[in-house]
């Protein structure tokens, strides 16, 4: 680390999360003063690491920080509350950072869509209609871009985070393998666009080095991005001694609003309603009374309007499965755009070993 200028105390928002806990411990281990900002019920997660914690409700009352690293993002409540939650997080950043201070905002490749549908640029992303998580990430970046109090802003978009006990990708893949759910799309190997949590901590620590200019810069971190998901899956499947199932086809590409409306209408299931009426005691009697008085040919003709019964040929996918498969089958690369002075700390093989060690300790094998 540079000895030109002390970094000062660092506040980490979202400190009790998966990356947050590891980042706080990493910064502390490298001799940096760090305070984790988290809700009181989660403070023990930092205390057990020897990291001081700060209640968001008390933020800004006692002191401000020269450096704020924001890992927080909306995680609770209905999708329509995300805008309010984003605003609260941004207000918290405002209260915590010194005027002209340094903010490192940790964002995600999801700003380009789960399948990286939008063009990947190391720059601002336009607001657009998308999945609530993606929209929330874009909105948060925009809120920070508009903040005039921040002297130095860096936005770090992480690839798919992977590592020991990582809830989204590592545990998620393991659970899908154990449940026999598809973990790939046949004939469509996808790029992992992955980053190991150890390298995330290393890079964020690297960005704390005093820069030569104020202003903002966009960073993309996916050091294992050119490794296909199949390599991760095969490693896990081997350790677990489980087969890696594949979906026969990728989920249907996102259609426009009219296609989405039609799909939503299919959920109403008129056939189910009719069946419910016919099976009912009183309504069924009424319906049979009406049908029995109609000419047989008319009733037969009405039944023919339904058309032949059509069976789904693919295993039906829920919304979560579809989003997962879009990511796992992603054909776009999320290339790293990182500072030239940073060096990789965790290699892919080291990452696999660490995950394997955790899996043994956690009882998976």
């Amino acid at each position: 680390m540079s000895d030109r200028q002390p970094i000062g105390e660092i506040a980490v928002l979202g400190a009790a999360g998966y990356v947050g806990q590891r980042l706080c411990a990493d910064l502390r281990d490298h001799g940096l003063a760090v305070t984790g900002v988290c809700r009181p019920y989660a403070a023990f997660l930092l205390e057990r690491l020897g990291i001081p914690s700060l209640d968001p409700a008390a933020a800004g009352q006692a002191r401000r920080f020269p450096v704020v690293i924001n890992l927080a993002y909306p995680t609770r409540g209905a999708g329509y509350t995300r805008r309010r939650q984003n605003r609260e997080i941004m207000q918290l950043v405002d209260r915590l950072v010194e005027p002209g201070g340094h903010v490192i905002h940790v964002s995600s490749l999801a700003v380009f869509g789960f399948a990286l549908d939008a063009p990947v640029v190391a720059g601002p992303v336009a607001l657009r209609a998308d999945n609530e998580y993606c929209m929330s990430k874009i909105a948060m970046e925009h809120a920070l871009l508009g903040n005039r109090h921040i002297g130095r802003l860096q936005v770090v978009r992480l690839g798919n985070v992977w590592g020991p006990a990582c809830p989204n990708w590592t545990v998620g893949l393991i659970e899908r393998l154990r449940a026999g759910k598809p973990v790939g799309v046949r004939g469509r190997p996808g790029w992992s666009n992955a980053t190991d949590v150890g390298n995330v901590c290393s890079y964020l620590r690297h960005l704390l080095l005093p820069g030569t200019d104020a202003g903002m810069r966009f960073h993309h971190l996916a050091e294992f991005g050119d490794t296909p998901w199949s390599r991760f899956v095969d490693r896990l499947a081997t350790d677990l001694n489980l087969p890696a199932g594949e979906a026969l086809a990728p989920p249907a590409p996102a259609g426009g609003r009219l296609a989405e409306f039609r799909a939503a209408l299919r959920g109403l299931r008129p056939a189910g309603f009719i069946r419910g009426v016919m099976d009912a005691r009183h309504l069924g009697a009424d319906a049979r009374a009406v049908l029995s008085r109609l000419p047989a040919g008319l009733v037969s003709g009405l039944k023919k309007l339904k058309g032949p019964q059509v069976f789904p040929l693919e295993e039906p996918l829920g919304p979560d499965d579809a989003d997962f498969l879009r990511v796992i089958g992603c054909q776009q690369r999320f290339a790293s755009v990182t500072d030239a002075g940073w060096r990789l700390e965790v290699t892919l093989e080291q990452s696999f070993e660490r995950v394997g060690e955790w899996m043994r300790e956690a009882g998976y094998v």
Binding site: Y18, Q21, A362, G363
Partner: protein
């Protein structure tokens, strides 16, 4: 609720002692759905907690003694160390009792409460709702059938980042607020119930315990040996509030093993003869909350169903107690 209750007596007058996070997030939301229960009074040492739950359940607040006098069924949802004293008081007042898990903090207290209930002609249950997960009952039947031979080992893992918005600092300050009695009561019970070790004579010998801090610990790994019917069964219990673990129960037998996830969903995996065979129960519960609600419905409509009867949890408490006190 007792066998001498008149069918036409209407909903069971119920009181709730302890209005913390469990009461606010589970009882207040789901108990009103049970037609056979009518909440008449709630009680908590913190008046604001009691008022919050009372408002949600449209009932009065009062002391524990007042609540027991007003009700015929008492639900104890306070921190574990107070369960035994409150349950004794409730039984003495003539109530049937449902105690939130863990039943008690000592096997002596557990046995005493079971005896007191029997003598008083009252019923006492433990609200261990995971027993209503269909796959757990299916696991118990498979293992009980002898298909895997004698049970040799039971491994239980449950861990994940804690995100339960507790109303007090109980998990950090209460000596019994650690992950062992909190989450461990669930995980251990699933393993014992599946392996048929929840009842019957059982001796516990703790081999080792590793904690992240003195109790209340947030991560704990315990190895122990259970002796029953003249044979030894190895036990391993690994719990964490800080990081993900496998979240499964694995029962190893002479001829194979059976494992299942600790969540409400999914089924079992049988491994025998080198082959893994998934097995799914014929029915599922929609969620943990569904199982929570269902347990109360069953306790009201089928009080003679003994799956949640307190005597079935004495072995669990014996093991928790032994691990807790092991240095």
């Amino acid at each position: 609720m007792s066998s001498d209750a008149q069918p036409s007596a209407g909903p069971v007058r119920t009181c709730l002692i302890g209005c913390g996070a469990v009461a606010q997030q589970m009882y207040a939301r789901h108990l009103p759905q049970i037609p056979g229960l009518r909440m008449v009074m709630v009680s908590d040492l913190r008046p604001e907690n009691a008022q919050r739950v009372a408002a949600a359940m449209a009932c009065a607040t009062g002391t524990a003694a007042e609540a027991f006098a007003a009700a015929s069924l008492a639900i104890i949802a306070t921190p574990p160390a107070s369960h035994a004293a409150l349950a004794r008081q409730a039984l003495a007042a003539g109530c049937d009792v449902i105690v939130e898990k863990p039943f008690t903090i000592s096997s002596a207290e557990a046995a005493q409460l079971v005896a007191q209930a029997e003598q008083a002609g009252r019923r006492i249950y433990v609200a261990q709702f995971r027993r209503l997960y269909p796959k757990l009952e299916q696991a118990r039947q498979v293992i009980g059938s002898g298909l895997l031979g004698q049970v040799r080992a039971v491994e239980m893992y449950e861990g994940g980042r804690f995100d339960w918005e507790v109303a007090t600092d109980y998990i950090n300050r209460d000596p019994y607020g650690g992950v062992l009695f909190d989450t461990g009561a669930h995980t251990l019970d699933m393993g014992l119930h599946a392996a048929g070790l929840d009842t019957g004579a059982l001796d516990v010998r703790v081999v080792s315990v590793r904690r992240d801090r003195p109790e209340p610990a947030h991560e704990i790994e315990a190895r122990f040996v259970l002796r029953t019917d003249g044979r030894d069964i190895e036990g391993r219990l690994h719990l964490s509030r800080a990081r993900a673990l496998a979240n499964l129960v694995r029962v190893r037998g002479e001829r194979g093993q059976l494992e299942f996830d600790v969540s409400h969903a999914g089924g079992l995996t049988l491994t025998a003869g080198g082959r893994r065979i998934p097995v799914f129960p014929g029915r599922q519960v929609e969620s943990a909350r569904h199982a929570f609600t269902l347990q109360y419905h069953q306790l009201v409509t089928a009080p003679d169903n003994m799956s949640l009867a307190a005597r079935g949890f004495i072995n669990q408490i014996s093991i928790l107690e032994a691990v807790y006190h092991h240095e």
